[in-house]
C-alpha cells in the first residue's frame, strides 16, 4: 500500500487533524484580541466545515480494507460509525458555540477534534497496539478537556481523579495486552483468537481477560471502575462531559465488543444462570449486573443533574454490556443501536444542562423548575431525552433496550441468560422514577422567584431540537439506523 492510497483511506481522520491544527492556528494568530464568546463562535464555524468535509469523505470512502496486520480495518459498519462519531463531535462542538468558560478557545476545540480522531482510529483497527495508542489519544485529550475550566476548582479536581483512575486503568490494560501477546505471539486479533482457541481456559489467558476488562471497565464507567464518573461529569465543562458521555462511549463499546468477540471467542465461557463457565462472559455478566443495580440505585439519591446523568451513565453501561453477551450476529447491531441513540440523547441532555445552569454553574434539579413555562421547546426536548433514557416508547431508548434485551435473552439454545434481562427490566423500572422526577421539575414545579429565564443561543437550541427529533424518529423507525449496523 502506497502513501496516497493510505491517505485516501484515512481521509476523514486526516481532515479532522487538519481542522484541529487550523482552528488552533487561526485562534492564536487572528482571533486573540476578541472576547472568548466570539472566538468560540468562529472556531465552531471552522470546525463545522472541517467535520462536515470529513463526514463527506467517511460517507463516500472505501467500505472495506484490512492493512498491515489489522492496523487499519475498514468495514461498512465501522465506516458508518465514523460518520456517527463525526456527527456526535459536531453536536458537541455546537454546544461550545455560546461558551465562555475559558480563554484558550483554540486549544479546547483542537483537543476535542483530536479526541475525535482518536475515536475514529479506535474503531477502525484490529490490532492491540493500535487500540492502545488510539485509546490513549482519546483519553489524554479528554483529561485535559475536563480540566479546562480553570475558574472552577471542581474542574481541576475532576480532571485529576479522571486522570489518576485512567492512568491506572491504562496500565492494567497494557499489562493484559502483554499477556495476550505472550500467549499468542501476535498483536493481531484474529491470530490471537486462533491461539486462544487451542489454549482453552489457560490461567494466563484468564488473567489477561480480567486485566483488559478492568481497563475497559474504566473507559465505559462500569462498576466497580466507576468512581471517577460522578465527579468528572460534575466538574468538567459541559461540552467535555458531553463528549466523554457520548463519543467516547460509542467508540469504547465498539472496540470492546470487537476485542471480545473477534479476539477471544474461544475464551468466552458462559454466564448462564447456575452454570457459569470461566471466561469473559461471566465477568461481563457480573460487571453488567453490578453496574445496572448500582447505577440506578445511586441515581435515586442525586439532586444534581450532572451527577444524575453520571449515575445513569453507569447504569446504561450495564445494559450495553449485556449486548456483548448476545450471539455475534445480533450483538453488534443491538449494541451499536443502543450506544448510538444513547450518545445522541446525552449530547442533547448536556446541551440542556448547559442552558439550565445559565451563568451561575448551579445544576441542581431545582434549576429546572417551571422550564415548561420559561421555554416550552426545551422542556419538550428534555421530556424526549428523559423518557428515551428511561426506555419509554416510542422513543429510541425504548427500542434500543427492547432489541438489546431480546438479543441477550435469545442467545444460546435455551433462554438461560434470561436472568440478566430480568435484572435489567427491574432496574429499568427503578430508573423511570428518577427520570420522571426530572420531568416533574420541568413541567409541574413552580419556578423559583427570580430564576433566570432559560436563554440559549440559537445554534444550541437548534442542535438540541435536532437531537430530540432524531431520538423520536429513530424510535419510531429504528430501521433507519439498524440497516447500517448489520
Amino acid at each position: 500500500m502506497d502513501y496516497p492510497g493510505l491517505i485516501k483511506l484515512l481521509a476523514p481522520e486526516c481532515l479532522v487533524v487538519l481542522t484541529a491544527l487550523g482552528v488552533l492556528f487561526a485562534d492564536l494568530k487572528f482571533w486573540r484580541g476578541l472576547p472568548s464568546r466570539q472566538r468560540f463562535g468562529r472556531g465552531v464555524a471552522l470546525a463545522t466545515v472541517g467535520l462536515l468535509a470529513a463526514a463527506l469523505f467517511a460517507g463516500m470512502g472505501e467500505k472495506s480494507a484490512d492493512l498491515l496486520l489489522g492496523t487499519l480495518v475498514l468495514t461498512r459498519v465501522s465506516q458508518f460509525l465514523k460518520l456517527v462519531l463525526l456527527l456526535l463531535t459536531l453536536g458537541t462542538v455546537w454546544l461550545c458555540s455560546d461558551a465562555d468558560f475559558t480563554d484558550h478557545v483554540g486549544e479546547f476545540l483542537a483537543l476535542l477534534l483530536l479526541a475525535a480522531t482518536g475515536m475514529m482510529l479506535l474503531i477502525s483497527t484490529e490490532n492491540l497496539l493500535m487500540i492502545f495508542v488510539s485509546l490513549e489519544l482519546v483519553s489524554l485529550s479528554l483529561y485535559v478537556m475536563t480540566a479546562f475550566n480553570k475558574r472552577s476548582s471542581c474542574s481541576a479536581e475532576a480532571a485529576l481523579k479522571y486522570f489518576l483512575f485512567g492512568g491506572m486503568a491504562a496500565g492494567f490494560m497494557l499489562f493484559g495486552f502483554s499477556f495476550l501477546y505472550g500467549l499468542s505471539g501476535s498483536i493481531h486479533l484474529p491470530d490471537i483468537a486462533v491461539a486462544l482457541r487451542t489454549k482453552g481456559s489457560d490461567p494466563l489467558a484468564m488473567a489477561a481477560i480480567v486485566m483488559v476488562l478492568a481497563g475497559f471497565g474504566f473507559k465505559i464507567a462500569a462498576v466497580p471502575f466507576h468512581f471517577w464518573a460522578p465527579d468528572t461529569y460534575d466538574g468538567a465543562p459541559a461540552p467535555a462531559a458531553a463528549f466523554i458521555a457520548s463519543g467516547s462511549k460509542v467508540a469504547s463499546f465498539f472496540i470492546l465488543a470487537t476485542l471480545l468477540q473477534a479476539g477471544m471467542p474461544g475464551a468466552a465461557g458462559s454466564g448462564a444462570w447456575n452454570a457459569f463457565v470461566p471466561g469473559w462472559m461471566p465477568i461481563v455478566a457480573i460487571l453488567a449486573t453490578a453496574s445496572m443495580v448500582f447505577g440506578n440505585l445511586a441515581a435515586l439519591a442525586q439532586s444534581s443533574l450532572r451527577r444524575l446523568l453520571a449515575c445513569s451513565a453507569i447504569a446504561h453501561a450495564g445494559y450495553a454490556l449485556l449486548a456483548i453477551m448476545a450471539e455475534p450476529a445480533d450483538a453488534k447491531p443491538a449494541l451499536l443501536y443502543y450506544v448510538t441513540t444513547y450518545a445522541l440523547t446525552l449530547v442533547g441532555m448536556f446541551g440542556l444542562v448547559s442552558v439550565v445552569e445559565g451563568g451561575n454553574g448551579d445544576d441542581s434539579m431545582g434549576q429546572l423548575a417551571g422550564l415548561s413555562q420559561r421555554s416550552p421547546l426545551l422542556a419538550a426536548c428534555l421530556s424526549v431525552f428523559g423518557l428515551s433514557l428511561a426506555g419509554v416508547p416510542p422513543f429510541a431508548g425504548f427500542f434500543g433496550k427492547f432489541y438489546l434485551f431480546v438479543a441477550v435473552a435469545k442467545s444460546g439454545p435455551t433462554l438461560s441468560s434470561f436472568w440478566l434481562v430480568l435484572v435489567a427490566i427491574a432496574m429499568s423500572c427503578v430508573s423511570l422514577y428518577y427520570y420522571l422526577q426530572v420531568l416533574k421539575q420541568a413541567w409541574v414545579a413552580i419556578p423559583v422567584e427570580g430564576s433566570v429565564p432559560a436563554r440559549a443561543s440559537r445554534p444550541l437550541v437548534l442542535v438540541v431540537s435536532l437531537l430530540a427529533l432524531a431520538v423520536v424518529l429513530l424510535g419510531c423507525v429504528p430501521e433507519l439506523l439498524l440497516r447500517f449496523l448489520r
Binding site: 444462570w273 445480533d330 447491531p333 416508547p393 416510542p394 427500542f399 427492547f402 432489541y403 431480546v406 435473552a409 435469545k410 435455551t414 433462554l415 438461560s416 434470561f418 427490566i425 423500572c429 423507525v477 429504528p478 430501521e479 439498524l482 448489520r486
Partner: protein, 518 residues
Amino acid sequence: MNGWPILTTLTLTPLFGALVTWIIGRDNARTARASAVGFSLLAFLQAAVLVMRFNTVATGLQFVERHAWIPALHVDYFVAVDGLSILLVFLSALLIPFALALSPVAPNQPHGYYGLFLLLQTGLFGTFTALNFFHWFIYWELSLVPAYFLIKLWGGENRRAAATQFFVYTFVGSVTLLLAMQAVYLATDTFDLIQLADLARSGELGRNLQTKLHWTGLSSGALGGLLFAGVFLGFAVKIPVMPFHTWLPDTYATAPTSVTMILTGAMSKMGVYGLLRILIPIFPQPMRDSLSLLMPLAVLTIVASAFAAFAQKDLKRLLAYSSMNHLGYCLLGLFAALMPSLNSAAGAGERAAVLSGVLVQLFNHGITAATLFGFIALFEKRSGGRRAIGDFGGLRQVAPVLAGFMGIAIFASVGLPGLNGFVGEFLIFKGAFPLAPVPTTIATVGILMTAVFYLTMIQRVFAGPLNPAWTRFPDLTRSEIALFVPATVVMFVLGLAPGLILNLVNPAVLEFVKRLAP
C-alpha cells in the same frame, strides 16, 4: 382494500390534533376546545366511512395495512379491523366528541386538557386496530398516560391519590402482561397476534415454550398456566374483574366526569377486547383449564358489584359499580362460550349467540354508561359539584326534560326490552344458560339488583318532594338537548333494530366460534 390507509390516518388524526391543540390552545380555552372538537369530529367522520365501507358478509380482516417495520425483530406494522373490533373503533370515535362537548368550558391549562383527551383517543384507536403485539402494547400503554394526567391534574378531591392508585394498578397488570408476552415472543419469534393464534391452535406454541423454557424446571402445563395468568391479570385489572377492581370506584368518582365517560365507555372495553383478541386465541387451553376459577369470579363481579352499587351514596360511585356489573355480563358470556357442551352442533349456536351478545353489550354499554355519566356532569354543573344521591329529590318537577332523557338512559341500562341494553344481555343469558346453567342462574340476581338500585336512584333523585334548594334547577338547554337526542335515538334504534350492529359482528363471531372448537 384500496390504497388509502384509513386505519393509520384514523389513528394519527387525534395525535396530530393533540399536537395542534397543545400549540395553538395555550391560554386560550375557546381555541383549544374548538380545535379538539374539530379533530375528534374529523376522526368520527373517518370512523363512519370505515363502518360504511365495512363488508358485513366477508369473514376475516378488512382494511389490512401491513408493512415490514423492524425486520431485525420480525415486527410488522400490522393494522386491520374485523367484526371483533369495528364496533369498538366506532364507539371510541363516537364517545370522544360527546365527552368533549360535556367537558368544562374553560379548564385550567386548556391546551393540556384537550390535548391529552385527543391523545387518549389515539391510544384507543391504536389498541383496537393493531394486530402486532409490539405496537398494540405501545398504544395500550399510551392510553394510560393521558388518563393518568387527566385525573391527576383536573380531577376532584384526592385526585393525586386516585390517579396514582389507578396508574399503579393498571401498570402492574401491564407489566405481567408484557412479561408473559415477551416469553411467548422469545419462544416463537413473532409478535403477530394472528400468527400466534394459529401457532396456539396447531399446538406449536406449547412445544416451543417447552423447548425454550425447560431450564425454568416447569412442566409445559404449569408454564402455560403461568403465562396465561400474567396476561389475564393485565386484562382483569383493566376490565375490572373482582377482586382486582379496587382502583375503579375511586378513579371513576375522582376523574373529571367527562373523562369518566371515556374510562367507562371506551377504556374498560380494552380489557374485554384483550380477552377476545389475545388471551382466548393464544391461550385457549389454559383458559379452559381455569374456568372453574374464572367463572365464579365473573359471577362474583356481577352480583357483588350490583349489591355494592345499591349501597353507594355518591351517584358517580353508584354508576361505577353499575358499569362493573355490566362488564361482568360480558365476562360471563365469554367464559360460558368456552364451556364444553355435550351437543356440539347446538353448542356452536349457543356460543355464537353469547359472543354476539358480548360484542353488542360492549357497544351498548359504552353508549349508555357514557350518557349516564354525561348527565352526572350536568348535575355537577348545575349544583356546584354536588352529586350525592340524597342531595337531590323531586327534580322531575323542575326539570322534566332532563328527568325524561335520563330516565330513558337508566332504563336502557337496566335492560328494558325495546332499548339497547336489552339486546346484549338477552343474547348473553340466552346463550350462556345452556352452556353454564348454575353460574348463569346465580348471575340473574345481579339483573334484579340492577333494577332495584336504578329504580331507587330514580326515586331519590327525580321523584318525591322537591328539595327546596333546587327550585331553580335549570332544565336541559337547547344545546344540551341537541347533545343527548342522538344518544337517545341510538338507544331506541339499537333496541328495536339490533340487526344493524349484529350484522357487523356476525361473520367474525361465527369464525371465532369455529376456531374455538377444540
